[in-house]
Symmetry: C2
Subunit: 463 residues, 2 copies
């Protein structure tokens, strides 16, 4: 039995304790966007420090103006090195009434076919995925006493809430964090049988706008029509963000957005993406984006504008004839290719200001931003990781695009000059950011095995 | 000293106990729209029954499918009769953080000029106003042992939440409730020195719409643009309710809306309405309604459409990149002249349905509705009430329009065939429906005296 086989066997024999550790992690309510959970975020960072230290990492929780950043080093001389990034924070759980159970009391459910799922907030995004890597390291250490390559683990606590403290941290600790390649486990498989490496990711620009009019809430009978209504002003602003063809109307929005190359379009065509099944799984049937674009383009290679939240006036039970003093919206833009988040933000603010009637003013709040990214799939490290994944799953891994934004990928590229291999084991039905989030047990198990193989493959490449 | 003078003197000498009774009433949290406060609404009805019984009314709280309706009779043989209507329910108090004190712990504040205000939810709308009438009756009974005319008091508990149970109640009890004239104290003075009788009132049509798309909340990175976003659909629907000139776009909306008669326009011109001051008091400067209309037209004689509430997606602290499964809005229409609330409701629903893209559906919820109304100011009872108000305030009362809707006025007209004198003592700065609602102490005091005079005047008219 060679070393890798022994490591894989160790993983198979120790699934139970690995799950127990994951459950302990999932019980921590590390909701980063809500200040009420700051102590839980700190506790989560400390949990990781202790866990990493337990397998021989030199681990520290670094204080930031927000939630701590965990860094753990396990160096193996001058051989190849990797920086693994993950995040320990999770999304809020509202609406809580749609959960079938306590989001922070993880449990295993068994499907009719006998397969299992881990159900909890963060099971898939990103605690379960992070632990696939950490447990692979644990198995290597247990079986061989060391790791195949030098590994630094970097765990952030603000991925779900803008992550403004990570870029300066990367810059300040560049020498300490720099490695040959970045590794991230926060993405999905192509389908349940086909592993994938995401090589294109959309960027993000998040904005919050609040429209102010009268200095108080008003009775709509006494003041209706005569007084400016922020709800009406905001509805106009939001409606005008798209034209009748579903294109975003902001000035210069499509600057830096080329048509897809024929090569990429051909590769994507071979994926056999089933738009009907993709939308059908969530109760929809027609792609809602730009007229004339395929659903795959909409989620991988076209920029978007989404209203993630809006509210103003009375939203409780019954009716209240009020004209509110304020109304607000949270809007995010997914960016592709060379779109500049700062220019998009400025164009959005211009769009709002151009639609402010007399007596109304707009207040803006900046949320996260990051550029889109594309990694060089011709790099040998990508080929080795792809082969390792293929060996585990019995099917070649595919290089795909990703609709979600993982701003840290461009932050790592910018601050550390490193490319990143994005390999994850999530599924489209994992319901991340939604009630009843889950992670397949097979994703967790074969995810650990996959990382064990990738670590070995990266070592061979440089040995 | 004649009987009326003695009654007025009694009111002056007993302001303190009248305030104590009002404070007891204001402490009851009778928020009708929120089911959590049903018991408090019932307690409020029972408080009125006991209070009316204490001054010799035969009073009963009638159960309804919603909150109870209080009826009290004090009959004086076959002479003239009046039906006084008021409501004991109040608006919700959110946003609570904008109140300077507990909304249900009333207190007297003294202004720099020495005048006082009663501050509490319901101080003006409508508990303070209702008690001006009840206390006038109490004074008449205390001084003379009887009332100048037969009086029935009718107090509803659902005025702020649709009032669907009142119309059938009026019909079922028509014989018991029928009187020569209706009296309502739920309106304001023209200015702090000039009493007013409202003779035109706008009608109302309230609608709630919920847009449904995917069967769950979605991650905007994974599904953004491809999945229909109810926030975006709703924003378009709401923005399209008005055209660029501020006119409501619903089909047939302006049917039955004539231009103002020259006679009424001339009378209104003499009022010297100061649009700048009206809007300036709430931090605004320009009438926001239909282009080319005066602010007075906008609030008295033109129909409106207001978005009273809207919401969808994540509205908490921070940011959440979600595409929500639903978004909803509460919209109300103020109606004038012969507009039909049922046709307006149908046109609104058509407007929504015409703007539903694939995969979206709309769910509607009907809130209150009532037609606009105009009373015959040439009726002698109106002239007598006007004179009585003039005697109290030293300045002739003016006949004005009212922007708010008091659906019960048309319900009384329809079910009982009665006209209604709407005389109230509220001020524009009373902040009803808003945080820190108040009622001027002088409104309360001279309001009681005004009703004492009106009761006498109505008796003389028929004696």
């Amino acid at each position: 039995m060679d070393r890798l086989d022994a490591v894989l066997a160790h993983i198979d024999a120790n699934l139970e304790p690995a799950l127990e550790r994951l459950f302990a992690l999932l019980r921590i309510r590390s909701i980063s966007t809500d200040p009420a959970y700051a102590a839980e975020c700190r506790a989560c960072a400390e949990w990781h420090v202790a866990d990493l230290a337990g397998i021989g990492f030199a681990a520290t929780a670094h204080a930031t103006p927000g939630h701590p950043i965990v860094v753990g080093h396990a160096r193996q001389g001058s051989g190849p090195s990797a920086l693994f990034y993950g995040h320990y924070d999770v999304q809020p759980v509202d609406p809580l009434e749609l959960w079938d159970h306590d989001p922070f009391e993880p449990k295993i459910e068994t499907r009719a076919d006998g397969t299992g799922v881990i159900r909890a907030r963060g099971a898939s995004d990103d605690k379960g995925q992070v632990q696939t890597f950490v447990e692979a390291c644990r198995a290597w250490k247990a079986v061989t006493g060391s790791l195949p390559i030098s590994v630094t683990v970097l765990l952030e606590g603000e991925e779900e809430s803008g992550g403004v403290n990570l870029p300066p941290f990367l810059k300040a600790h560049a020498a300490e964090l720099k490695a040959d390649i970045g590794l991230i486990c926060d993405t999905g498989m192509w389908d349940t049988a086909t592993p994938a490496i995401v090589t294109m990711l959309r960027g993000l620009c998040g904005e919050e706008v609040t429209i102010h009019a009268a200095d108080r809430d008003l009775h709509s009978g006494l003041f209706g029509a005569a007084a400016a209504n922020p709800n009406r002003v905001l509805a106009r602003i939001l409606a005008d963000l798209h034209d009748a063809d579903g294109r975003v109307t902001l000035a210069g929005f499509y600057d830096g957005v080329p048509e897809l190359s024929n090569a990429l379009r051909t590769q994507w065509d071979t994926l056999g993406f089933d738009a009907g099944a993709f939308l059908g799984a969530i109760g929809l049937s027609e792609p809602a984006g730009e007229r004339g674009r395929s659903a795959l383009e909409m989620i991988w290679s076209r920029p978007t504008c989404e209203i993630n939240g809006m509210g103003g006036g009375y939203q409780g039970e019954g009716f209240k004839t009020v004209i509110p003093a304020v109304a607000s919206a949270k809007v995010s833009f997914r960016l592709v290719f060379d779109q500049d988040p700062h220019r998009v933000r400025a164009a959005f603010r211009d769009h709002v200001r151009a639609r402010l009637p007399a007596d109304c003013r707009a207040e803006f709040k900046e949320h996260g931003s990051g550029r889109a990214i594309a990694f060089p799939v011709e790099d040998p490290a990508f080929a080795r990781a792809r082969e390792a994944l293929g060996a585990e799953w019995g099917k070649a891994a595919v290089f795909i695009g990703g609709g979600g934004s993982i701003p840290v990928t461009s932050d790592i590229k910018t601050a550390l000059g490193m490319d990143v291999i994005l390999a994850g084991f999530a599924h489209d039905d994992d319901r991340f950011h939604s009630p009843n989030e889950k992670y397949d047990l097979v994703s967790f198990h074969k995810g650990m095995r996959s990382w064990a193989r990738i670590l070995a493959a990266l070592a061979e490449g440089r040995a």
